[in-house]
Symmetry: D2
Subunit: 344 residues, 4 copies
Amino acid sequence: MIVITIPGVCREDIENKLQELKIGEVAAIVTEENGRTLLSIPQPAGEEAVLALEALPWVDTVVKTESSYHLVARSGRTATTRVDIGPVTVGGQGLVVIAGPCAVENYEQLKETALRVKQSGAAILRGGAFKPRTSPYSFQGLEEEGLRILQAVGTEVQMPVVSEVLDPRHVEMITQRVDLLQIGARSMYNTALLKEVGRQKKPVLLKRSAQATYDEWLQAAEYIAMEGNAQIILCERGIRTFEPYTRNTLDLAAVPAIKHLSHLPIVVDPSHGTGRWRMVSPMALAAVATGADGIMVEVHPHPESALSDGGQSLQLNRFDELMKQIKRLMPALGRNLEQVGERD
Amino acid sequence: MIVITIPGVCREDIENKLQELKIGEVAAIVTEENGRTLLSIPQPAGEEAVLALEALPWVDTVVKTESSYHLVARSGRTATTRVDIGPVTVGGQGLVVIAGPCAVENYEQLKETALRVKQSGAAILRGGAFKPRTSPYSFQGLEEEGLRILQAVGTEVQMPVVSEVLDPRHVEMITQRVDLLQIGARSMYNTALLKEVGRQKKPVLLKRSAQATYDEWLQAAEYIAMEGNAQIILCERGIRTFEPYTRNTLDLAAVPAIKHLSHLPIVVDPSHGTGRWRMVSPMALAAVATGADGIMVEVHPHPESALSDGGQSLQLNRFDELMKQIKRLMPALGRNLEQVGERD
Amino acid sequence: MIVITIPGVCREDIENKLQELKIGEVAAIVTEENGRTLLSIPQPAGEEAVLALEALPWVDTVVKTESSYHLVARSGRTATTRVDIGPVTVGGQGLVVIAGPCAVENYEQLKETALRVKQSGAAILRGGAFKPRTSPYSFQGLEEEGLRILQAVGTEVQMPVVSEVLDPRHVEMITQRVDLLQIGARSMYNTALLKEVGRQKKPVLLKRSAQATYDEWLQAAEYIAMEGNAQIILCERGIRTFEPYTRNTLDLAAVPAIKHLSHLPIVVDPSHGTGRWRMVSPMALAAVATGADGIMVEVHPHPESALSDGGQSLQLNRFDELMKQIKRLMPALGRNLEQVGERD
Amino acid sequence: MIVITIPGVCREDIENKLQELKIGEVAAIVTEENGRTLLSIPQPAGEEAVLALEALPWVDTVVKTESSYHLVARSGRTATTRVDIGPVTVGGQGLVVIAGPCAVENYEQLKETALRVKQSGAAILRGGAFKPRTSPYSFQGLEEEGLRILQAVGTEVQMPVVSEVLDPRHVEMITQRVDLLQIGARSMYNTALLKEVGRQKKPVLLKRSAQATYDEWLQAAEYIAMEGNAQIILCERGIRTFEPYTRNTLDLAAVPAIKHLSHLPIVVDPSHGTGRWRMVSPMALAAVATGADGIMVEVHPHPESALSDGGQSLQLNRFDELMKQIKRLMPALGRNLEQVGERD
């Protein structure tokens, strides 16, 4: 941590004041020409020390030089962490495609979708049972019934399944029924929920909040890792900006940024990231080209009658077409498609 | 709801397709000159209907003409809802000042602060016990011990108290100990929590998420109201923008906007809204001038050693100076200061 | 400037490389415990040095400790710069109200507006002649004819006048006809224009771009000051955010921030800042309470038929009501209203 | 245009008022169940009519149903407009790579860069001569001398050249020296400049402002097209968001969005779009995968000593490596690389 004072503060004063605040030792003091003093203080005691220092009248700026996360930081590790979801590995050479409807509506809808997306090359089946909806008048999901359908279909078609958990009181129950626990974008700051999934022995897919910086997102991952669960996959799904045409602005730069900052794998959700089905395929291809470990795509047999997010869901045929394009890209990118069928 | 088609779609087709989708009756069809058709459809079945329509290839745009909230909408009511927190009324003629430390640290700190802020004119005492922190390495609050201190001090100094609830499993316990339940900005989309506080018989202070539109904020309030709890106070505390100098951008236009859109009272938090104590007083005065029903200010006897958010806390003397300025403004604005002492 | 290296770089290497780059002398080198080296380098040669250093593989972070502007920086000056526009002073004890229509439409419209706003207490008359419009199909202003009307009406009613300049080729001509040159928000980064107005002997009102940080805004002012023109008034008029309800988000925190960072006076434009006439008066009062040196308000005798920005213009009666409220606030704030009539 | 009234306004009143305002004919009036009236009004007279209507007390909402641009709108055209820059075509089957230093520094630097980027596969040479800098203390470019060097090198290596124009007074001079006129992001709202380049017979590369919506960007293109110059290439280069890690947030969704909304070709600048050289290659590949007509990349032989934007420039070797990756992608995407060498 570096502290820059306002001009004209003398050294003795500073040392006395820091002792009163019990803020570490000063490693070094350097006076800049313009009369300001720079302090280098190692091992700060957390965010509080920074804020306390900023409140001091003789302090101009505090610069954090330490990372705000440690367990999930890249810190020189060359390999991406491999997260195993049943027979599927996220973070290895293979690109993982997660597909399925936004919400589980009934057995037939999910079964039809699952068979088709698996045939096209998807490795993991998604299906929402507890839905986080902005409006209390919107469909909130089939809840436990939806989870039972998801689990049954996953078993029948032999695909691992992922579903979202919204409430810390549901974590144990949902953990029994899915292979991958999803923390949605609106729950990224829900530390009670993060800690609860951190205590489970199930991999977690952590979506970025639409307002989160990379730094905050990785700190949310740190909350999970600190409780003992290191099987974390990050998911970029768009941030909120001024552009009204798209539902969110998909920030694909998150892929190289996260690869640089963290050892966790990262997947991209172009469906929520754009909100418009016409844009899903080009943005999915872009995500693959940028080096993402996987993509997560909403697919629905009849998007126009979907009970949730129909406007951003791909029809089964369009999803199949996208998968063909992705397969063509794989060798040019030196990668392959991770598929569940390969292991049968 | 108005649906605008792409050019060249014939009426029979539209009517047939809407029947298939089971989307209401078409109230009226108007052909615009440029060949596009406009449909007016009353009483949509929720967000889904909009999204399903947008997914149709012959639909260009869907315009929602209905409000997405009802219980909290202004809808012609002339009076602001009055929310009673013990002897204090928010939403009436009196301006309500909520003050206290970001986090309860110990009995002495809180008692000293409470006595002084009450003397200066504050009506409600704030103090965080469960703290939502971005970093898992930051001080997370004294939790239940903090609540006990808050309740004790509130009783001793005769001020109603407010504290934040983060976890739906804590709602009942916290409801026993405070006079006003706070939902923090990071929990605004936490529908499990919103529903839980909606079932209590305690007033709720609902902070705006840093990424929330007015519309989404009012929908979060609707979640609470739908469960039966209509005693809701909204709190503007800044939104996330590109400006790095301030912690958030305090959106004071929220005050006249909410007054126009909703009958709920609104208070402003200039401490989180700026993140810098030097800016708290001018922004607090601005909030009062814009017509807010109250303000919520962080005050700490020794901000430089505060365990949380010291950089944005006012010293006791500075808070007293702010209150004097506010009192001078009251008659010019045709208002008075709501004070607990008045009723003793 | 502080440079923080990645871990494990040795001192000799650093000194050799900095010599090659011809980047100043290293004032001090401090090794932090985690193996990284901190360099303090005084007097950087500008933005380039920062960028060049950031490009080096052994550099982790570069922290600018020097201000990016000098002439307009507060730097310990206690008084705000006073800018005289004819008999009116901006930056003194008196609050200056600038009012008038968005665009000059004809002599009658402007004369009626000018007489009425002066009577209500406005000190400077505004009126656009060259209009920066997003759409090429929108009314672009009366141009030179508009300026002639503005100058004539200003003389007749004895009010200084302000109008916007969009094109460096027009600067001299417009300087002849107005008392205050306005640089609009969309021109804030137009350095050719900034330099041209910097060479004039007329005060300049510099609006903040809707995307500009405080730092960039003050650097734009520095462009003007560097050419010799130090008579600069800053104008906050809202920034672009995700909120769709308002045209812009009026950032009133800019007032205390600018007061802290710069000695230049600052005024606030609540008309463009909100885009809705219902919000203009509350936000104008808030701007006054926050300590702004003035406000700039769009007023139109018949907003519903205005050729430009009618939706955000106040009717003459509503403006008069606002001015009465402002006058009531003045003594409570220890200020007075700057008026042209006082000097007649 | 659709106008939605507040509840309880009667039809006769509406018709009378619209006649007074001289706002077209009402095509149709439809009463919705909730007592509000919907008016469909064809052929509005521009932005003013919308604003004037919004100012009326009996109007709740005005919905624009017409496009705000016409010449550059897709409007059913299936082909992308092909823009020829000397022997290079943007908008056809071939991917066009524009490369070169941010600023022309001297003949040797540019010649070395030009020879190498051409060899790697770039088709157009970029080099800034007039630089738009935030700080008046930053290097402002070699100006005319820079243009002479650029023109000379372009001729010698047989590559068309592109450079930015900042000032309407320079347009004719720069038009003589370059093959493609660049309008930078900070000039996108500079309508005086847009009109001036619209009068030239040279293709224009129009960068998106960091604050511009797609709609505003296309209206800026419309300004150019209205003056007679339809040879326009759009360039996405990142928007301003809250994320501090990257200089801008590169909005790759602009590619499919613009392809849907307009017939103009679009290229992507991942250098300004990220501000970090480590992220340029992954984002360049993503841009190609999303269907962009080209990319624009900053390349410098010695980025660490570059006078401008060194931190985001690729070294020659890294650029060559990127071009090899792009060439591998081309067949998988059904495309080829547009090269100047092919036509020699």
